[in-house]
Symmetry: C2
Subunit: 125 residues, 2 copies
DNA sequence: ATGCTGTCTCGACGTTTCTCAAATCAGAGA
DNA sequence: TCTCTGATTTGAGAAACGTCGAGACAGCAT
């Protein structure tokens, strides 16, 4: 694995661009919603949210699957499936080194999601 | 509607607190993941993401269902169902005035979600 | 009261998701 | 080569989701 070119450009915006249209500024177009929704969906499971957190907070910037799996009361294949979901959503990237596979986050898309949510009421509320 | 006391305290943190633990700082505990995941899941559908954006960007800070429904090629009941999902996730609040029902966002939980995602790599990457 | 319009609830249908066990693939080492 | 371990893929079953039509409810107007 670690081969797939997931989410090449998730919005019209290049995936590693600093920012993107905030949710409370303009109404986001249908294509943007369609592009970003899968990322939110991927975060919409408690296990994956924890996996994401463990990956993002790993001291070395990456973490071995062999360290992720025993942290949950779930089978290996199930964890692998959740990791695949995160990969396909463009949230993480993986590569194998010898026997082990290491995961790391893709900061670009996380920035986009955060930016989308980070706006409070314009001036009204 | 507009009666339910949705998501009384979504984390341990009070729902309108300014912030919450960021995803890349410490590994988030299982309860936090379980509490926040439904909100991400609610945003994980293109229709709901657009609805959210329309509500958040409404000039008056709120918007009528009668304005939301015709913006999609979906039946009224379907839009209503999505709005209920957003309500139950604690993302929006609704109240009826006369014949019409108005929706507005709950900025507190949006802030929590944004804060959770807003951290980049600590220093490593 | 009767009717009309806007919104929500209910029941149903097909699709997707989550989970596991079994099988498979990838690499290291004897 | 053969085997062992770590990780992924495949296949299957139960549960949840997105969508709709039909019906019910709330409030305004006649």
């Amino acid at each position: 694995m670690s081969k797939q070119a997931v989410a090449p450009a998730i919005t019209g915006v290049p995936v590693d661009a600093p920012c993107c249209p905030p949710i409370a500024e303009h109404r986001i177009p249908a294509e943007t919603a369609a592009a970003l929704a899968p990322a939110f969906k991927a975060l919409g499971d408690p296990v994956r949210l924890q996996l994401m957190s463990m990956i993002a907070s790993a001291p070395a910037g990456e973490i071995c699957v062999c360290e992720l799996t025993p942290a949950f009361e779930l089978s290996g294949p199930t964890i692998s499936h959740h990791l695949k979901t995160l990969r396909e959503a463009g949230l993480v990237d993986a590569d194998r080194r010898g026997t082990w596979v290491y995961y790391r986050t893709r900061p670009g898309i996380l920035r986009q999601l955060a930016a989308l949510l980070s706006v409070e009421m314009p001036a009204t509320a």
